[in-house]
Amino acid sequence: MVLLQIAEPGAAPEASTERQVGVGIDLGTTNSLIAHFDGNDLNVLTDDTGQASLPSVVYYGDSQTLVGADAERYASAEPGNTIASAKRMLGRSREEFEDDPYIQLTPGEGLAFATDAGTKTPVEVSAAILTALKDRAGPQLSGPISGAVITVPAYFDDAQRQATRQAAELAGIKVLRLLNEPTAAAVAYGLDEQAEESSVLAVYDLGGGTFDISLLRMRAGLFEVLSTGGDSALGGDDFDRALAVHLLDELSIDEPTVVQRRVALALARNAKERLSDKTSVDLDVSGLDTAASEVTVSRSTLEALLFPYIDRTLTACRQTLADANVDTVDRVVLVGGSTRTPAVRQAVTDCFGLEPLCNLDPDQVVAMGASRQADILVGNRQGDEALLLDVIPLSLGLETYGGLVERIVDRNSTIPVARAQEFTTARDGQTGLVVHVLQGERERVEDCRSLARFELTGIPPMVAGAARIEVTFQVDADGILAVSAVEQQTGARSDIVVKPAFGLDEAQITDMLKAGYEHASEDMLARQLGEALVEAEALLDGLLAAMTADGDLLSADETAALQSDMKNLETVMAANQPDDIRGATEILGNACEVFAARRMDRSIQKALQGVSLSQLESDVVEESTP
């Protein structure tokens, strides 16, 4: 179905000429995976040694960059050059990590790591991981990747989602959609396709660095997130750290070195994993440089250490149930390697009163679901496919007087969403207004996350309270925010796509991409040109067909203006410059937006007619339906 070539409901879908390759990527805190679904088989792609999980670790040495297990090997010897769990820092601020003894930050502003290969931001580290995953696809798939569905914790705020998109952009991956991880897990179990009555599903996702609990409702092919909760800084890493601290205490190491901390962490992780099957394990602690050579850890010791963390997850579960006003759930799905811990499984079973689904590998289930959705979004399956509706995880608002936050978009609103609110000036003759955008649930500015500040200027001087400034928040299907402010009487306006204050700005991204292009091969340039031409042709073809079908929606002037922009694009296409083609495509795209919107309005009628006809036999049809 193409917006500019709207098909009749029920008409045969346009056939794709060739199968597109869509992949699902789980960019995890501890491990990352890539999976591909070809319509029949679902494969989690592996590396040369047959490993599916890629440790989310990057090593930046002075002569080489390594990703995954190869990078992990440097963790003890060169901790400063070996970056793990970078996802925790995606889109976040320096202040949140300054006291963390496990991270070596660069001096000065911003959140970045000092390595022998230079300063590296969390976005760059994530891009390196994505690139390594993308490289797996080359030898194992039938063609180049057309697009990817990348999963993010449901809890991710705007800045974190933006940073994830930037990482993909740096890695040269086209993002079809950012999908909430729990939603992907439910898709992996095929729960979206089960034609049962409306049922409620809880997805309990305890990974390495994040905990998410999501309640989803499924009915008749629709898949809706009712509410989400959790903690973006709680996970198996905390289990490891708690046990590492316990080990260091046991051995009376009061002021551990960075290396000792690392070794203790590795020992702790190993012990935790082995304690899933055993009731007690002996650890060789000779690597810690102390008198003792062995320490015994029992499962009950571990469970006592884990209790406060598991309890926090259950509190979040109950809160999320209350948010959705749901008393009982019909199913529970377990996601994330930390759900292998027996104490976690038992706690979840007790909390929800039913046995959770866990027959798919909890480490792979998210990537598997994402790959199924990627296959749909890339255009291989058409017709009445299940639709995944997501919600915004945190409320959005603006700073008002007295440091208070005025909420504009409530959390758990279904996205895409747009909301407008009117504000006014506080002083006589005020000509500018600072718009401070915040995300979070608390009432005071300092308790919420600051997303952006911008200034609306050009307000005509009036008495206080006379100006009418409408601020509109628009959140797209990925949960990414755009804000605009308009003074109603003069039309003075400011637009801003909210860029992560703690990530990279657009110029930095462009520079990095350019640096990449300079070293790029002829092949890469040819590919870029090809992509630009395909996008331009798709727009031209669609628009031409639309103008033939619904030309009556345009005035003569509008038609002439569009034709001129089309002609311009065709001229530019002949010159083979990717940047110019993209520019002219964008101009034409903007120019035909109003036309596309009018066509959409016209097609509403048809969309709803299809529905009433199909319901005729069993339901009463509204009298108003023509």
Binding site: P416, V417, A420, Q474, V486, G542, N590, A597, Q615, E622
Partner: protein, 174 residues
């Protein structure tokens, strides 16, 4: 670029092809909502030119707003008053009638005296509030239908108060 285009101008009843009636058929609303989203969700345009994705996102934002407003009785009532040109700020300044104020005070007192362990008391208070709410709602519907807009605005305020009371943590099952 026109973020607000259509966002406030669209009539939500006609968007979902429903009669502008307070007592709307919720099944029909839900069916129309799903039908529109199924066709126009931005995911349907994932590989398409950006203009299509943008227009689809704006349109879906509208569909979501419309559904959110119409699917809830209190916000539907507020929306219908706005559409009828009632100045809600002025109406709120006038407030509710004194008999309702007395009801308000009595319900609030009962809520405050409610012991957290008293499940039966919670149940009966909930039912009492629900009864008042149903009364206000029916009066809203009939006054709006007869164009007694200021009366309707008053009953809408009663609905607001009572539905808020029903969502008090003390009344919700833990």
């Amino acid at each position: 670029m026109n973020a607000t285009a259509g966002a406030t101008a669209r009539d939500y009843f006609s968007l979902f092809q429903l009669e502008p009636d307070f007592a709307l058929d919720e099944t029909a609303l839900e069916r129309a909502y799903h039908a529109l989203l199924t066709q126009f969700h931005p995911d349907r345009y994932a590989g398409k030119p950006q203009v299509e994705q943008r227009v689809a996102a704006q349109f879906c934002a509208d569909i979501n707003s419309g559904y959110r407003i119409l699917s809830d009785e209190v916000s539907r009532a507020e929306y219908m008053l706005q559409q009828a040109g009632v100045d809600l700020v002025a109406a709120e300044r006038v407030g509710v009638e004194s008999t309702f104020l007395m009801t308000q005070i009595s319900l609030r007192e009962q809520l405050e005296e409610l012991e957290p362990s008293d499940a039966a008391g919670r149940q009966s208070l909930t039912e009492e509030i629900e009864g008042h709410y149903a009364g206000s709602r029916d009066q809203f519907a009939s006054t709006l239908a007869t164009d007694a807009r200021l009366d309707a605005a008053r009953h809408w305020q009663e609905m607001c108060y009572l539905s808020k009371l029903l969502s008090e943590p003390k009344l919700r099952v833990s």
